[in-house]
Amino acid sequence: MSEEALRTENISKSFGRVTALRDASVRLNKGEVLGLLGDNGAGKSTLMKILTGFHKPDGGKIYFLGKEIELKSVSHARSLGIEPVYQDLALVNELNVYRNMFLQREIMVGGPLRILNDGAMREFAREHLNEMGVNIPSVDVEIARLSGGQRQAIAVARSVYANAKVLLLDEPTAAMGVRETAVILDLIRRLKERGDVSIIVVAHNYAHVFEVCDRVNLLQNGRITFDRATKDSSVQELLNLVLHEIREARGQVGKA
Protein backbone atom coordinates (compact mmCIF):
# COMPACT_ATOMS: atom_id res chain seq x y z
CA MET A 1 0.00 0.00 0.00
CA SER A 2 1.34 3.42 -0.90
CA GLU A 3 2.29 6.08 1.60
CA GLU A 4 -0.30 8.65 2.55
CA ALA A 5 0.08 12.39 1.99
CA LEU A 6 -3.04 13.66 3.67
CA ARG A 7 -5.82 11.83 5.48
CA THR A 8 -8.88 12.80 7.47
CA GLU A 9 -10.76 10.71 10.00
CA ASN A 10 -14.40 11.39 10.78
CA ILE A 11 -14.31 15.11 10.10
CA SER A 12 -17.49 16.92 11.00
CA LYS A 13 -18.44 20.54 10.48
CA SER A 14 -21.64 22.50 10.95
CA PHE A 15 -22.56 26.08 10.19
CA GLY A 16 -25.29 26.92 12.64
CA ARG A 17 -28.07 24.48 11.82
CA VAL A 18 -26.54 23.37 8.54
CA THR A 19 -24.41 20.26 8.81
CA ALA A 20 -21.90 20.41 5.97
CA LEU A 21 -19.77 17.41 6.92
CA ARG A 22 -20.35 14.36 9.11
CA ASP A 23 -17.74 11.64 9.53
CA ALA A 24 -15.91 12.56 6.36
CA SER A 25 -12.88 10.32 5.97
CA VAL A 26 -10.67 10.78 2.92
CA ARG A 27 -7.23 9.54 2.16
CA LEU A 28 -4.84 11.07 -0.37
CA ASN A 29 -1.81 8.99 -1.24
CA LYS A 30 1.58 10.43 -2.15
CA GLY A 31 1.88 11.35 -5.79
CA GLU A 32 -1.75 10.61 -6.41
CA VAL A 33 -4.52 12.63 -8.03
CA LEU A 34 -7.80 12.13 -6.22
CA GLY A 35 -11.06 13.28 -7.76
CA LEU A 36 -13.77 14.45 -5.38
CA LEU A 37 -17.27 14.39 -6.80
CA GLY A 38 -20.58 15.30 -5.26
CA ASP A 39 -23.73 17.34 -5.66
CA ASN A 40 -23.97 21.05 -4.99
CA GLY A 41 -23.93 21.56 -1.25
CA ALA A 42 -22.54 18.09 -0.55
CA GLY A 43 -19.70 19.61 1.49
CA LYS A 44 -16.79 19.43 -0.97
CA SER A 45 -15.65 23.03 -0.55
CA THR A 46 -16.07 22.80 3.20
CA LEU A 47 -13.83 19.73 3.31
CA MET A 48 -11.24 21.51 1.16
CA LYS A 49 -11.35 24.60 3.36
CA ILE A 50 -10.75 22.45 6.43
CA LEU A 51 -7.72 20.95 4.73
CA THR A 52 -6.38 24.42 3.85
CA GLY A 53 -6.65 25.50 7.48
CA PHE A 54 -9.38 28.05 6.71
CA HIS A 55 -12.13 26.33 8.71
CA LYS A 56 -11.62 24.53 12.00
CA PRO A 57 -13.38 21.15 12.01
CA ASP A 58 -15.90 20.54 14.82
CA GLY A 59 -14.59 17.02 15.24
CA GLY A 60 -12.30 14.46 13.64
CA LYS A 61 -8.62 14.19 12.92
CA ILE A 62 -6.25 15.27 10.16
CA TYR A 63 -3.03 13.43 9.34
CA PHE A 64 -0.32 15.00 7.22
CA LEU A 65 2.48 12.70 6.00
CA GLY A 66 1.37 10.15 8.54
CA LYS A 67 1.38 12.44 11.57
CA GLU A 68 -1.69 13.86 13.22
CA ILE A 69 -1.70 17.66 12.98
CA GLU A 70 -3.86 20.60 13.82
CA LEU A 71 -3.96 23.13 10.99
CA LYS A 72 -3.83 26.42 12.86
CA SER A 73 -4.31 28.78 9.95
CA VAL A 74 -4.08 29.03 6.19
CA SER A 75 -0.55 30.36 6.54
CA HIS A 76 0.32 27.36 8.69
CA ALA A 77 -1.05 24.92 6.13
CA ARG A 78 0.70 26.76 3.30
CA SER A 79 3.97 26.69 5.21
CA LEU A 80 3.61 22.89 5.39
CA GLY A 81 3.16 22.78 1.62
CA ILE A 82 -0.63 22.47 1.49
CA GLU A 83 -1.69 24.90 -1.24
CA PRO A 84 -5.28 25.88 -1.95
CA VAL A 85 -7.11 26.93 -5.06
CA TYR A 86 -10.51 28.05 -3.86
CA GLN A 87 -13.71 27.86 -5.79
CA ASP A 88 -13.98 31.64 -5.49
CA LEU A 89 -10.28 31.90 -6.49
CA ALA A 90 -9.32 34.31 -3.67
CA LEU A 91 -7.86 36.85 -6.06
CA VAL A 92 -7.94 40.59 -5.39
CA ASN A 93 -9.37 42.51 -8.35
CA GLU A 94 -7.62 45.75 -7.38
CA LEU A 95 -4.16 44.18 -7.47
CA ASN A 96 -2.15 43.27 -10.53
CA VAL A 97 -1.28 39.74 -11.56
CA TYR A 98 2.13 39.40 -9.97
CA ARG A 99 1.03 40.88 -6.65
CA ASN A 100 -1.81 38.38 -6.57
CA MET A 101 0.59 35.58 -7.40
CA PHE A 102 2.71 36.44 -4.38
CA LEU A 103 -0.07 37.42 -2.00
CA GLN A 104 0.89 36.53 1.58
CA ARG A 105 4.18 35.18 0.26
CA GLU A 106 5.66 38.43 -0.95
CA ILE A 107 9.30 38.86 -1.84
CA MET A 108 10.59 41.79 0.20
CA VAL A 109 13.69 43.90 0.22
CA GLY A 110 13.16 43.99 3.96
CA GLY A 111 13.60 46.77 6.48
CA PRO A 112 11.21 47.55 9.32
CA LEU A 113 8.59 48.71 6.82
CA ARG A 114 8.82 45.41 4.93
CA ILE A 115 9.23 47.00 1.55
CA LEU A 116 8.13 44.88 -1.39
CA ASN A 117 10.52 43.77 -4.08
CA ASP A 118 8.22 44.36 -7.02
CA GLY A 119 10.96 43.79 -9.58
CA ALA A 120 11.68 40.28 -8.38
CA MET A 121 8.02 39.35 -8.02
CA ARG A 122 7.24 40.63 -11.52
CA GLU A 123 10.14 38.69 -13.03
CA PHE A 124 9.37 35.42 -11.24
CA ALA A 125 5.67 35.68 -12.00
CA ARG A 126 6.33 36.30 -15.67
CA GLU A 127 8.74 33.37 -15.95
CA HIS A 128 6.46 31.02 -14.08
CA LEU A 129 3.33 31.90 -16.03
CA ASN A 130 5.24 31.53 -19.29
CA GLU A 131 6.48 28.15 -18.22
CA MET A 132 2.95 27.06 -17.40
CA GLY A 133 1.61 28.33 -20.69
CA VAL A 134 -0.79 30.77 -19.04
CA ASN A 135 -1.81 33.31 -21.63
CA ILE A 136 -2.25 36.86 -20.28
CA PRO A 137 -1.36 40.26 -21.76
CA SER A 138 1.04 41.22 -18.96
CA VAL A 139 1.72 40.52 -15.29
CA ASP A 140 1.14 44.23 -14.65
CA VAL A 141 -2.56 44.26 -15.49
CA GLU A 142 -5.13 44.29 -12.73
CA ILE A 143 -6.90 41.00 -12.14
CA ALA A 144 -10.22 42.78 -12.79
CA ARG A 145 -9.23 43.11 -16.44
CA LEU A 146 -8.73 39.39 -17.02
CA SER A 147 -11.30 36.87 -18.20
CA GLY A 148 -12.75 34.25 -15.88
CA GLY A 149 -10.58 31.54 -17.38
CA GLN A 150 -7.43 33.63 -17.13
CA ARG A 151 -8.15 34.33 -13.47
CA GLN A 152 -8.62 30.67 -12.81
CA ALA A 153 -5.34 29.88 -14.51
CA ILE A 154 -3.61 32.50 -12.32
CA ALA A 155 -5.12 31.01 -9.16
CA VAL A 156 -3.93 27.53 -10.14
CA ALA A 157 -0.51 28.82 -11.16
CA ARG A 158 -0.20 30.61 -7.83
CA SER A 159 -0.66 27.41 -5.86
CA VAL A 160 1.69 25.39 -8.03
CA TYR A 161 4.36 28.03 -7.85
CA ALA A 162 4.92 27.51 -4.17
CA ASN A 163 6.55 24.09 -4.42
CA ALA A 164 3.45 22.54 -2.98
CA LYS A 165 3.37 19.03 -1.52
CA VAL A 166 -0.40 18.87 -1.56
CA LEU A 167 -2.60 20.78 -3.99
CA LEU A 168 -6.26 21.29 -3.19
CA LEU A 169 -8.08 22.35 -6.34
CA ASP A 170 -11.72 23.28 -5.85
CA GLU A 171 -13.35 23.22 -9.28
CA PRO A 172 -10.27 24.47 -11.15
CA THR A 173 -11.95 24.25 -14.55
CA ALA A 174 -15.43 25.45 -13.67
CA ALA A 175 -15.53 28.60 -15.81
CA MET A 176 -13.08 27.55 -18.47
CA GLY A 177 -13.25 27.12 -22.19
CA VAL A 178 -12.16 23.93 -23.92
CA ARG A 179 -8.62 25.17 -24.56
CA GLU A 180 -8.14 26.50 -21.01
CA THR A 181 -9.58 23.35 -19.50
CA ALA A 182 -7.14 21.31 -21.54
CA VAL A 183 -4.29 23.47 -20.24
CA ILE A 184 -5.30 22.89 -16.62
CA LEU A 185 -5.86 19.16 -17.08
CA ASP A 186 -2.54 18.92 -18.85
CA LEU A 187 -0.91 20.78 -16.00
CA ILE A 188 -2.36 18.33 -13.50
CA ARG A 189 -1.00 15.46 -15.58
CA ARG A 190 2.44 17.04 -15.74
CA LEU A 191 2.45 17.58 -11.98
CA LYS A 192 1.54 13.93 -11.54
CA GLU A 193 4.47 12.90 -13.71
CA ARG A 194 6.75 14.99 -11.54
CA GLY A 195 5.60 12.70 -8.76
CA ASP A 196 6.36 14.95 -5.77
CA VAL A 197 2.94 16.48 -5.40
CA SER A 198 -0.37 14.97 -4.36
CA ILE A 199 -3.58 16.53 -5.60
CA ILE A 200 -7.25 16.59 -4.72
CA VAL A 201 -9.44 17.90 -7.52
CA VAL A 202 -13.05 18.82 -6.88
CA ALA A 203 -15.07 18.73 -10.07
CA HIS A 204 -18.54 18.27 -11.44
CA ASN A 205 -17.38 16.96 -14.79
CA TYR A 206 -17.07 13.18 -14.45
CA ALA A 207 -15.18 12.85 -17.72
CA HIS A 208 -12.49 15.26 -16.54
CA VAL A 209 -12.12 13.37 -13.30
CA PHE A 210 -11.69 10.06 -15.08
CA GLU A 211 -9.24 11.68 -17.46
CA VAL A 212 -6.72 12.85 -14.90
CA CYS A 213 -7.45 11.13 -11.58
CA ASP A 214 -6.05 7.91 -10.15
CA ARG A 215 -8.88 7.50 -7.74
CA VAL A 216 -12.35 8.91 -7.33
CA ASN A 217 -14.38 9.63 -4.19
CA LEU A 218 -18.01 10.55 -3.99
CA LEU A 219 -19.13 12.89 -1.23
CA GLN A 220 -22.80 12.72 -0.37
CA ASN A 221 -24.49 14.50 2.52
CA GLY A 222 -21.20 15.15 4.24
CA ARG A 223 -19.87 11.58 3.96
CA ILE A 224 -17.62 9.73 1.53
CA THR A 225 -19.86 7.06 0.05
CA PHE A 226 -17.73 5.76 -2.80
CA ASP A 227 -13.99 5.25 -3.11
CA ARG A 228 -12.40 3.42 -6.02
CA ALA A 229 -9.46 3.56 -8.41
CA THR A 230 -10.56 5.12 -11.70
CA LYS A 231 -9.18 2.14 -13.62
CA ASP A 232 -11.58 -0.14 -11.73
CA SER A 233 -14.57 2.09 -12.34
CA SER A 234 -16.13 4.13 -15.10
CA VAL A 235 -18.05 7.30 -15.71
CA GLN A 236 -21.05 5.13 -16.45
CA GLU A 237 -20.83 3.25 -13.16
CA LEU A 238 -20.76 6.46 -11.15
CA LEU A 239 -23.53 8.04 -13.15
CA ASN A 240 -25.65 4.95 -12.65
CA LEU A 241 -24.93 5.04 -8.95
CA VAL A 242 -25.94 8.67 -8.54
CA LEU A 243 -28.95 8.41 -10.86
CA HIS A 244 -30.10 5.28 -9.09
CA GLU A 245 -30.08 7.11 -5.80
CA ILE A 246 -32.01 10.01 -7.23
CA ARG A 247 -34.64 7.61 -8.54
CA GLU A 248 -34.77 5.83 -5.21
CA ALA A 249 -35.20 9.08 -3.35
CA ARG A 250 -37.98 10.08 -5.75
CA GLY A 251 -39.59 6.71 -5.32
CA GLN A 252 -39.58 7.08 -1.55
CA VAL A 253 -41.09 10.53 -1.81
CA GLY A 254 -43.74 9.03 -4.05
CA LYS A 255 -44.56 6.27 -1.57
CA ALA A 256 -44.67 8.52 1.49
Partner: protein, 343 residues
Protein backbone atom coordinates in the same frame (compact mmCIF):
# COMPACT_ATOMS: atom_id res chain seq x y z
CA UNK B 1 6.22 50.05 -35.05
CA UNK B 2 9.66 51.47 -35.91
CA UNK B 3 12.03 49.75 -33.54
CA UNK B 4 14.39 52.64 -32.81
CA UNK B 5 12.48 54.67 -30.22
CA UNK B 6 10.98 52.18 -27.80
CA UNK B 7 9.65 53.44 -24.49
CA UNK B 8 11.89 52.30 -21.66
CA UNK B 9 8.97 51.53 -19.36
CA UNK B 10 8.74 47.80 -18.73
CA UNK B 11 4.95 47.86 -18.73
CA UNK B 12 4.55 47.57 -22.44
CA UNK B 13 2.60 50.80 -22.64
CA UNK B 14 4.55 51.79 -25.74
CA UNK B 15 2.90 49.01 -27.67
CA UNK B 16 -0.57 50.50 -27.64
CA UNK B 17 -1.14 50.89 -31.38
CA UNK B 18 -1.21 54.45 -32.54
CA UNK B 19 -0.64 55.85 -29.06
CA UNK B 20 2.04 58.25 -30.25
CA UNK B 21 -0.10 59.77 -32.97
CA UNK B 22 -2.46 61.47 -30.52
CA UNK B 23 -2.11 65.14 -29.71
CA UNK B 24 -1.06 66.79 -26.53
CA UNK B 25 -4.64 67.53 -25.46
CA UNK B 26 -5.58 63.91 -25.84
CA UNK B 27 -2.55 62.87 -23.78
CA UNK B 28 -3.48 65.33 -21.06
CA UNK B 29 -6.98 63.91 -21.15
CA UNK B 30 -5.68 60.38 -20.80
CA UNK B 31 -3.44 61.43 -17.94
CA UNK B 32 -6.38 63.00 -16.14
CA UNK B 33 -8.33 59.86 -16.73
CA UNK B 34 -5.66 57.49 -15.52
CA UNK B 35 -4.30 59.34 -12.53
CA UNK B 36 -6.77 59.66 -9.72
CA UNK B 37 -4.73 62.49 -8.22
CA UNK B 38 -4.56 64.53 -11.41
CA UNK B 39 -8.19 65.62 -11.52
CA UNK B 40 -8.23 66.84 -7.94
CA UNK B 41 -4.91 68.63 -8.45
CA UNK B 42 -6.41 70.35 -11.47
CA UNK B 43 -9.42 71.41 -9.38
CA UNK B 44 -7.05 72.88 -6.78
CA UNK B 45 -5.16 74.84 -9.41
CA UNK B 46 -8.33 76.23 -10.97
CA UNK B 47 -9.60 77.30 -7.55
CA UNK B 48 -6.30 78.96 -6.71
CA UNK B 49 -6.41 80.90 -9.98
CA UNK B 50 -10.02 81.87 -9.40
CA UNK B 51 -9.62 83.11 -5.82
CA UNK B 52 -6.21 84.60 -6.59
CA UNK B 53 -7.83 86.84 -9.19
CA UNK B 54 -11.01 87.68 -7.27
CA UNK B 55 -9.67 88.22 -3.75
CA UNK B 56 -6.50 90.26 -3.46
CA UNK B 57 -5.66 88.89 -0.03
CA UNK B 58 -5.87 85.27 -1.15
CA UNK B 59 -2.26 84.96 -2.24
CA UNK B 60 -0.79 87.06 0.58
CA UNK B 61 1.83 85.22 2.65
CA UNK B 62 -0.32 85.46 5.77
CA UNK B 63 -3.30 83.90 4.09
CA UNK B 64 -1.25 81.17 2.47
CA UNK B 65 0.12 80.28 5.90
CA UNK B 66 -3.43 80.18 7.23
CA UNK B 67 -4.55 77.97 4.42
CA UNK B 68 -1.59 75.64 4.79
CA UNK B 69 -2.21 75.18 8.50
CA UNK B 70 -5.87 74.46 8.01
CA UNK B 71 -5.34 72.01 5.18
CA UNK B 72 -2.42 70.35 6.98
CA UNK B 73 -4.48 69.26 9.97
CA UNK B 74 -7.24 67.85 7.78
CA UNK B 75 -4.72 66.11 5.54
CA UNK B 76 -3.07 64.35 8.49
CA UNK B 77 -6.37 62.92 9.70
CA UNK B 78 -7.37 62.14 6.12
CA UNK B 79 -4.24 60.00 5.66
CA UNK B 80 -5.49 57.79 8.49
CA UNK B 81 -9.02 57.72 7.13
CA UNK B 82 -7.69 56.60 3.75
CA UNK B 83 -6.02 53.58 5.36
CA UNK B 84 -9.20 52.64 7.24
CA UNK B 85 -11.48 53.28 4.28
CA UNK B 86 -9.30 51.19 1.95
CA UNK B 87 -9.68 48.17 4.20
CA UNK B 88 -13.42 48.61 3.97
CA UNK B 89 -14.18 50.46 7.21
CA UNK B 90 -14.61 54.04 8.38
CA UNK B 91 -13.56 55.91 11.53
CA UNK B 92 -15.97 58.57 12.73
CA UNK B 93 -14.18 59.04 16.04
CA UNK B 94 -10.87 60.46 14.76
CA UNK B 95 -12.05 64.04 15.18
CA UNK B 96 -12.73 63.44 18.85
CA UNK B 97 -9.40 61.74 19.40
CA UNK B 98 -8.07 65.02 17.96
CA UNK B 99 -9.49 66.72 21.06
CA UNK B 100 -8.63 63.94 23.52
CA UNK B 101 -4.91 63.43 22.86
CA UNK B 102 -3.81 67.01 23.67
CA UNK B 103 -5.55 66.79 27.05
CA UNK B 104 -3.86 63.51 27.87
CA UNK B 105 -0.59 65.16 26.89
CA UNK B 106 -1.38 68.22 29.01
CA UNK B 107 -2.27 66.24 32.13
CA UNK B 108 0.72 63.96 31.73
CA UNK B 109 2.93 67.03 31.53
CA UNK B 110 1.22 68.58 34.57
CA UNK B 111 1.90 65.34 36.41
CA UNK B 112 5.60 65.77 35.74
CA UNK B 113 6.24 63.86 32.54
CA UNK B 114 8.76 65.50 30.21
CA UNK B 115 7.17 66.96 27.13
CA UNK B 116 8.22 64.34 24.63
CA UNK B 117 6.98 61.59 26.93
CA UNK B 118 3.73 63.50 27.47
CA UNK B 119 3.23 63.70 23.72
CA UNK B 120 3.87 59.97 23.43
CA UNK B 121 1.29 59.32 26.14
CA UNK B 122 -1.19 61.45 24.24
CA UNK B 123 -0.56 59.31 21.17
CA UNK B 124 -0.79 56.16 23.26
CA UNK B 125 -4.26 57.21 24.40
CA UNK B 126 -5.15 57.68 20.74
CA UNK B 127 -3.79 54.23 19.93
CA UNK B 128 -5.91 52.76 22.72
CA UNK B 129 -9.03 54.26 21.14
CA UNK B 130 -8.00 52.79 17.79
CA UNK B 131 -7.50 49.41 19.41
CA UNK B 132 -10.97 49.59 20.96
CA UNK B 133 -12.51 50.63 17.62
CA UNK B 134 -10.74 47.77 15.89
CA UNK B 135 -11.56 45.21 18.54
CA UNK B 136 -15.28 46.01 18.60
CA UNK B 137 -15.45 46.07 14.82
CA UNK B 138 -13.35 42.99 14.08
CA UNK B 139 -13.88 40.70 17.05
CA UNK B 140 -17.37 41.69 18.16
CA UNK B 141 -18.40 42.21 14.53
CA UNK B 142 -20.14 45.55 14.97
CA UNK B 143 -20.05 47.59 11.75
CA UNK B 144 -17.37 50.27 12.10
CA UNK B 145 -19.85 53.02 11.32
CA UNK B 146 -21.70 52.13 14.51
CA UNK B 147 -18.60 51.28 16.56
CA UNK B 148 -16.94 54.60 15.89
CA UNK B 149 -20.20 56.52 16.23
CA UNK B 150 -20.32 55.09 19.75
CA UNK B 151 -16.71 55.89 20.58
CA UNK B 152 -17.18 59.36 19.05
CA UNK B 153 -19.68 60.24 21.80
CA UNK B 154 -17.81 58.32 24.46
CA UNK B 155 -14.56 60.15 23.82
CA UNK B 156 -16.29 63.49 23.50
CA UNK B 157 -17.93 63.02 26.90
CA UNK B 158 -14.68 61.76 28.40
CA UNK B 159 -12.68 64.75 27.14
CA UNK B 160 -15.31 67.17 28.42
CA UNK B 161 -15.26 65.44 31.79
CA UNK B 162 -11.50 65.43 32.32
CA UNK B 163 -11.25 69.03 31.14
CA UNK B 164 -14.34 70.25 32.98
CA UNK B 165 -15.26 71.75 29.66
CA UNK B 166 -12.63 74.47 29.87
CA UNK B 167 -9.74 75.07 27.49
CA UNK B 168 -6.21 75.08 28.87
CA UNK B 169 -2.92 76.54 27.67
CA UNK B 170 -0.11 74.17 26.79
CA UNK B 171 3.41 75.20 27.66
CA UNK B 172 6.65 73.81 26.34
CA UNK B 173 10.01 74.99 25.19
CA UNK B 174 10.07 77.06 21.99
CA UNK B 175 11.88 74.21 20.31
CA UNK B 176 9.15 71.71 21.13
CA UNK B 177 6.47 74.17 20.10
CA UNK B 178 8.13 75.01 16.81
CA UNK B 179 8.92 71.41 16.02
CA UNK B 180 5.44 70.15 16.81
CA UNK B 181 3.39 72.34 14.55
CA UNK B 182 4.00 75.74 16.13
CA UNK B 183 4.85 77.33 12.79
CA UNK B 184 3.07 77.00 9.46
CA UNK B 185 6.23 75.48 7.97
CA UNK B 186 6.38 72.83 10.66
CA UNK B 187 2.66 72.08 10.36
CA UNK B 188 2.74 71.66 6.60
CA UNK B 189 5.99 69.66 6.78
CA UNK B 190 4.32 67.18 9.09
CA UNK B 191 1.37 66.89 6.71
CA UNK B 192 3.56 66.38 3.66
CA UNK B 193 5.83 63.94 5.48
CA UNK B 194 2.89 61.88 6.73
CA UNK B 195 1.22 61.93 3.34
CA UNK B 196 4.34 60.70 1.55
CA UNK B 197 5.04 58.10 4.24
CA UNK B 198 1.59 56.58 4.04
CA UNK B 199 1.44 56.75 0.27
CA UNK B 200 4.67 54.78 0.33
CA UNK B 201 3.34 52.32 2.89
CA UNK B 202 0.22 51.86 0.80
CA UNK B 203 1.96 51.24 -2.51
CA UNK B 204 5.30 49.74 -1.64
CA UNK B 205 5.03 47.76 1.56
CA UNK B 206 3.48 44.51 2.66
CA UNK B 207 1.17 46.33 5.08
CA UNK B 208 -0.25 48.46 2.29
CA UNK B 209 -0.64 45.49 -0.02
CA UNK B 210 -2.53 43.55 2.63
CA UNK B 211 -4.66 46.60 3.41
CA UNK B 212 -5.74 46.79 -0.23
CA UNK B 213 -6.31 43.03 -0.36
CA UNK B 214 -8.41 43.13 2.81
CA UNK B 215 -10.65 45.86 1.42
CA UNK B 216 -10.68 44.52 -2.13
CA UNK B 217 -11.62 40.94 -1.29
CA UNK B 218 -12.12 40.32 2.42
CA UNK B 219 -12.95 36.63 2.13
CA UNK B 220 -10.33 35.97 -0.51
CA UNK B 221 -7.61 37.71 1.49
CA UNK B 222 -8.50 35.59 4.52
CA UNK B 223 -8.62 32.43 2.40
CA UNK B 224 -5.09 32.98 1.17
CA UNK B 225 -3.87 33.48 4.72
CA UNK B 226 -3.83 37.23 5.32
CA UNK B 227 -4.77 38.11 8.90
CA UNK B 228 -7.49 40.50 7.86
CA UNK B 229 -8.50 41.25 11.45
CA UNK B 230 -4.98 42.30 12.32
CA UNK B 231 -4.82 44.54 9.25
CA UNK B 232 -8.10 46.26 10.14
CA UNK B 233 -7.23 46.75 13.80
CA UNK B 234 -3.81 48.08 12.83
CA UNK B 235 -5.32 50.63 10.48
CA UNK B 236 -7.83 51.76 13.11
CA UNK B 237 -4.87 52.35 15.42
CA UNK B 238 -3.01 54.26 12.69
CA UNK B 239 -6.05 56.44 11.99
CA UNK B 240 -6.61 57.19 15.66
CA UNK B 241 -2.96 58.05 16.21
CA UNK B 242 -2.98 60.43 13.27
CA UNK B 243 -6.13 62.05 14.69
CA UNK B 244 -4.33 62.47 18.02
CA UNK B 245 -1.18 63.77 16.35
CA UNK B 246 -3.19 66.33 14.36
CA UNK B 247 -4.76 67.52 17.62
CA UNK B 248 -1.39 67.85 19.33
CA UNK B 249 0.12 69.76 16.41
CA UNK B 250 -2.84 72.15 16.35
CA UNK B 251 -2.53 72.65 20.09
CA UNK B 252 0.93 74.13 19.63
CA UNK B 253 -0.21 76.16 16.67
CA UNK B 254 -3.05 77.95 18.44
CA UNK B 255 -1.48 77.55 21.93
CA UNK B 256 -4.71 76.41 23.43
CA UNK B 257 -6.27 73.03 24.13
CA UNK B 258 -9.99 73.19 23.58
CA UNK B 259 -12.20 70.24 24.53
CA UNK B 260 -14.63 71.29 21.82
CA UNK B 261 -12.05 71.56 19.05
CA UNK B 262 -12.13 69.20 16.10
CA UNK B 263 -14.98 66.78 16.58
CA UNK B 264 -17.33 65.78 13.81
CA UNK B 265 -16.48 68.89 11.81
CA UNK B 266 -12.86 67.99 11.19
CA UNK B 267 -13.70 64.28 10.92
CA UNK B 268 -16.17 64.90 8.12
CA UNK B 269 -13.68 67.22 6.44
CA UNK B 270 -11.06 64.46 6.59
CA UNK B 271 -13.42 61.82 5.18
CA UNK B 272 -14.61 64.25 2.50
CA UNK B 273 -10.98 64.97 1.61
CA UNK B 274 -10.27 61.27 1.20
CA UNK B 275 -13.31 60.66 -0.93
CA UNK B 276 -12.87 63.77 -3.05
CA UNK B 277 -9.24 62.76 -3.50
CA UNK B 278 -10.24 59.46 -5.07
CA UNK B 279 -10.54 56.93 -2.25
CA UNK B 280 -13.52 54.64 -2.73
CA UNK B 281 -15.81 54.21 0.28
CA UNK B 282 -16.38 50.65 -0.91
CA UNK B 283 -12.79 49.77 -0.01
CA UNK B 284 -9.90 48.26 -1.91
CA UNK B 285 -8.72 51.43 -3.56
CA UNK B 286 -7.44 54.79 -2.46
CA UNK B 287 -4.70 57.37 -2.47
CA UNK B 288 -3.16 59.33 0.38
CA UNK B 289 -1.78 62.00 -1.93
CA UNK B 290 -5.27 62.40 -3.34
CA UNK B 291 -6.61 62.93 0.17
CA UNK B 292 -3.94 65.59 0.80
CA UNK B 293 -5.05 67.38 -2.38
CA UNK B 294 -8.66 66.92 -1.32
CA UNK B 295 -7.90 68.63 1.98
CA UNK B 296 -6.22 71.44 0.08
CA UNK B 297 -9.26 71.91 -2.16
CA UNK B 298 -11.63 72.01 0.80
CA UNK B 299 -9.33 74.45 2.59
CA UNK B 300 -9.10 76.68 -0.47
CA UNK B 301 -12.89 76.67 -0.87
CA UNK B 302 -13.51 77.57 2.74
CA UNK B 303 -10.80 80.21 2.87
CA UNK B 304 -11.55 81.67 -0.54
CA UNK B 305 -15.27 82.04 0.08
CA UNK B 306 -14.59 83.70 3.41
CA UNK B 307 -12.27 86.18 1.72
CA UNK B 308 -14.70 87.17 -1.02
CA UNK B 309 -17.21 87.79 1.72
CA UNK B 310 -19.64 84.96 1.36
CA UNK B 311 -21.60 84.56 4.60
CA UNK B 312 -21.18 81.43 6.69
CA UNK B 313 -24.68 80.25 5.81
CA UNK B 314 -24.18 80.64 2.11
CA UNK B 315 -20.77 79.11 2.48
CA UNK B 316 -22.14 75.82 3.79
CA UNK B 317 -24.50 75.60 0.85
CA UNK B 318 -21.73 76.30 -1.61
CA UNK B 319 -19.43 73.84 0.14
CA UNK B 320 -22.08 71.14 0.05
CA UNK B 321 -22.75 71.77 -3.62
CA UNK B 322 -19.01 71.78 -4.32
CA UNK B 323 -18.57 68.43 -2.60
CA UNK B 324 -21.44 66.95 -4.59
CA UNK B 325 -20.17 68.39 -7.85
CA UNK B 326 -16.64 67.11 -7.26
CA UNK B 327 -17.96 63.69 -6.36
CA UNK B 328 -20.23 63.45 -9.38
CA UNK B 329 -17.33 64.35 -11.65
CA UNK B 330 -15.10 61.89 -9.81
CA UNK B 331 -17.55 59.05 -10.09
CA UNK B 332 -17.96 59.74 -13.80
CA UNK B 333 -14.21 59.81 -14.24
CA UNK B 334 -13.64 56.54 -12.43
CA UNK B 335 -16.40 54.92 -14.50
CA UNK B 336 -14.57 56.04 -17.62
CA UNK B 337 -11.32 54.87 -16.13
CA UNK B 338 -12.73 51.42 -15.40
CA UNK B 339 -14.32 51.15 -18.82
CA UNK B 340 -11.12 52.35 -20.47
CA UNK B 341 -9.21 49.13 -20.07
CA UNK B 342 -11.89 46.52 -19.81
CA UNK B 343 -12.57 44.05 -22.61
Amino acid sequence: MPGDKVDSLPTGKAQIPGAESHGLARRAGLFLLHSREASIALAAIILIIYFGSTAAAFLSPGNIANLAEYAATTAIIAAGEVMVIICGEVDLSAGNVYALSPFVMYFAHQAGAPFVLAILLGLLAAAAVGLINGFITVVLEVPSFITTLGTLYLINGFTLTISNGYPVQPNGSPFIINFFGGTPISQISWAIGITLLFQFILNKTRWGLHTIATGGNLLGAAEIGIKVGKIKIGNFIICSCLGGLAGILDTFRISSIDPLAGGTDIMFMAIASSVIGGTLLTGGSGTVIGAFLGAAVLGILKNGFTLIGVSAFTFDMILGAAILATMIINVRLSRLRAAGGKR
